[in-house]
């Protein structure tokens, strides 16, 4: 009977296992192998030892893309976390049309990234007659401040991408909302009785209680930020002066534009190692900083 259950279970997850084997395990294994080869995709790979990995140390563009990815990652996670917790806190309060506001925050994240990127590219147009962003700036400043040329300099291009990343905070907000609902009312009441105000309660009761949720969202944020690709590709193409050229874009270019699949594979392995290391560090830090109720 037990054997029969195992067989049935394996049968049911068989399609998934096959998919995982052929579309994850095999490609990842091949990428590991190709990282040690000279492989143009169109010719047979030739083993070159650790040459692709050695090349990374003298690759200035790699330094640029890693820096850009780190800056984008850190800032988008910090800004995104603050924004999504704030929105979740607001949405958790009883309000009229509460469901509407919650849906409104989540709705943008269901739109395709490519469509969003095209819309935002128009919104950031430097001409105030065209670009919504600069129209808003001029409206709020009564025409005293002219909006920047968003894609004309590295600083503003990165700022534009960071602001745009807030567009898709919806899923994180939903998770934070669930976390906030889980905070026991008794703790709020106890803190209130002790004379702790709303801000104090937020920092000393709510934040520690939702810290596991924050940890989860930060890890997801790190993974997403490390893989940022489609939006900058469409909005900036990596420019100006490679200021918004990110690691995933570099991997893609090496593989399919420059025809160096060997180096691209090594860069992919580096990306995996960085994400793994960062996740490990965050989890280790979480042991000290995250409060698990009942643990």
């Amino acid at each position: 009977m037990r054997h029969d259950s195992l067989g049935t279970g394996l049968l049911w997850i068989g399609p998934w296992l096959l998919g995982f084997l052929f579309f994850t395990i095999v490609p990842v294994s091949l990428a590991l192998y190709y990282g040690f080869t000279d492989y143009t995709l169109l010719e047979a790979p030739i083993p070159v030892g650790t040459q692709n990995y050695e090349r990374m140390f003298s690759d200035e563009i790699l330094g640029t893309v890693l820096w850009n990815t780190a800056v984008f990652g850190v800032l988008s996670i910090v800004i995104g976390t603050i924004t999504s917790i704030s929105l979740a806190a607001l949405l958790s309060k009883p309000a009229r049309f509460q469901s509407f506001w919650r849906a409104a925050v989540f709705a943008p994240s269901v739109l395709p990234l490519v469509a969003i990127a095209v819309i935002f590219k128009l919104a950031y147009d430097p001409d105030p007659e065209v670009g919504l962003a600069n129209q808003i700036i001029e409206w709020f400043t009564f025409g005293l401040v002219q909006g920047p040329n968003w894609f004309g300099s590295g600083f503003w291009a990165m700022t534009a991408l960071l602001l745009m990343s807030l567009w898709s905070v919806g899923p994180a907000v939903v998770i934070y909302l669930a976390g906030l609902r889980d905070v026991p009312k008794q703790l709020h009441e106890a803190a209130s009785i002790d004379g702790v105000g709303p801000i104090g309660r937020f920092f000393h009761v709510v934040l520690p209680m939702i810290s596991p949720v924050i940890l989860f969202n930060v890890i997801i944020g790190v993974i997403n930020a490390a893989q940022v690709f489609a939006v900058p590709l469409i909005m900036t193409g990596g420019g100006p002066e490679r200021s918004t050229y990110f690691h995933s874009m570099y991997v893609y270019d090496q593989a399919f534009k420059f025809g160096d699949m060997g180096y691209a594979s090594a860069l992919g392995v580096l990306q995996f190692a960085i994400i793994l290391a960062l996740t490990g560090i965050i989890l280790l830090a979480g042991r000290r900083l995250v409060y698990y109720r009942g643990a």
């Binding site: 010719e43 147009d125 002066e241 420059f258």
Partner: protein
């Protein structure tokens, strides 16, 4: 023991999976190899859309009507060079593939395309083509590709604006010095120095980042030595001229000028609206004038792009490019593919195709009717550049994509005035380019492949 009718048994699950697999095999995607009438089907991948795709469709239809043994299945798609790499690597390439000439060094070096030496049997050799076109597709005496539609880049100007400022629309500037003077006359600045009309802007549309040194006699790469020559004196002069525009009018003011009116997303909007008096463009421009503004509405002229006075007596300088046809390695019917490519190279077919694209013909001579009825009244200017020994294209190197991207990043620095002269950024690009070429050479040595300059 009875089975609950709602329970899915292992047998039924397996049966479902097997039925799905059988259904996919029977009715799923399938590459047709033979039609019902017995004709061999050739898959031809091309990159064009709209009227450009339609022009080739006409040629394909002609071929299919003329044939009882071969049928060409014409498919157009985006990102064709990258898709082709994957298809060839997977051993399932199309029979005929439309690429750009800049792809040829990589595809040929990797052995991903088959030489078209068999075209000689159809009377086609290097002398078939215009002087500057032959070297785009021949290497070491072998024909690697067939040009489909070539283009040369020229200066287009708005004749009405020329007349308005007292410039002779029938005598456009031939030298950079005269052009600079004309630009000043054509440009209108408001009281705050904002550009209302620009005489010329090298970043509008900014599609040929590699072209500016060439007008000053520079080359990015020396084929005889295999060395990059990005920071040569002529290139620095060319890119200094490129940088003179933000220096002249101010970077911020140019950025504002280049902001687009939303009701016209066309890349030609500034030229068509009269905000830009002259522009660097390809031969297709008049076709888009007719499409966007109406037939014959825009009064334009074209001439080879101006060069420094010292080069003005030479045959015209100008960047050229070409769409090309190749047979990928692993194609199922190379003889049939060759027959189709040979058909496209017949004067009547290539002229139909090129006229449909509003481009010049790649052939050594064009028919009278082609020039007379061509949608671009200045097509002779483009043909003149295609016949010129001073026409130039992207370097014959496998790493051009990476080289070009490095040049683009350097160009950003030059345009954004990060350096007082182009020399600094070009020096950085030179270092990057040398590293790219060094890696290329190591790759060739690893694979015992000859250096390309040996066959240049």
């Amino acid at each position: 023991m009875t089975t609950d009718p709602k329970t899915i048994t292992r047998r039924s699950a397996l049966g479902l999976l097997a039925a799905g697999a059988a259904g996919y095999a029977a009715f799923g995607p399938e590459r047709r190899r033979l039609r019902r009438d017995g004709r061999v089907v050739l898959d031809y991948w091309e990159k064009w859309t709209s009227h450009e795709a339609a022009a080739m469709q006409t040629v394909v239809d002609r071929f299919n009507e003329s044939q009882s043994a071969i049928f060409v299945n014409y498919l157009t798609m985006g990102g064709i060079d990258q898709k082709a790499k994957v298809a060839i690597a997977a051993g399932d390439p199309p029979d005929v593939l439309g690429l750009w000439n800049r792809n040829l060094p990589f595809f040929s070096q990797c052995g991903a395309i088959m030489p078209l030496d068999g075209l000689r049997d159809y009377g086609i050799d290097e002398s078939t083509y215009a002087k500057a076109v032959g070297p785009l597709v021949f290497r070491g005496g072998r024909q690697l590709a067939a040009p489909s539609t070539p283009s040369s880049i020229a200066l287009y100007y708005n004749k009405a604006i020329f007349r308005e400022v007292g410039l002779d629309p029938d005598a456009p500037p031939r030298t950079i010095e005269a052009f600079d003077e004309a630009i000043d006359r054509l440009t209108i600045l408001d009281g705050d120095g904002n550009v209302e009309r620009a005489g010329f802007l090298p970043t509008d549309p900014g599609w040929w980042s590699w072209c500016w040194g060439g007008f000053f006699g520079g080359h990015l790469y020396d084929e005889r030595t295999g060395r990059a020559t990005v920071d040569s004196a002529p290139n620095i002069a060319g890119y200094d001229w490129f940088q003179s525009f933000p220096k002249r009018w101010g970077l911020d003011k140019l950025r504002r000028f280049q902001g687009a009116p939303i009701d016209n997303p066309s890349p030609y909007r500034n030229f068509f609206s009269g905000r830009l008096a002259t522009t660097i463009q390809g031969p297709w421009l008049p076709k888009f004038m007719d499409m966007e503004l109406g037939p014959g509405v825009f009064d334009y002229g074209a001439c080879p792009f101006p060069v420094p006075a010292a080069l003005a007596d030479q045959p015209p300088y100008g960047p050229i490019e070409a769409d090309i046809l190749v047979i990928p390695t692993g194609a199922r019917n190379p003889e049939a593919s060759l027959e189709f490519i040979a058909f496209t190279q017949r004067p009547e077919n290539i002229e139909t195709l090129c006229a449909g694209h509003a481009k010049p013909s790649p052939l050594a001579t064009s028919s009278e009717g082609f020039i007379r009825d061509h949608p671009n009244t200045a097509v002779a200017v483009h043909e003149e550049i295609l016949q010129s020994p001073n026409a130039y294209t992207t370097p014959w190197i496998t790493g051009w994509a990476e080289f070009g991207m490095a040049l683009g990043a350097g160009l950003d620095q030059i345009w954004n005035l990060k350096s007082p002269s182009a020399a600094g950024p070009l020096g950085e690009v030179q270092i990057e380019a040398e590293a790219i070429l060094q890696r290329e050479q190591e790759r060739r040595q690893r694979r015992n492949q000859p250096d390309p300059w040996e066959s240049a």
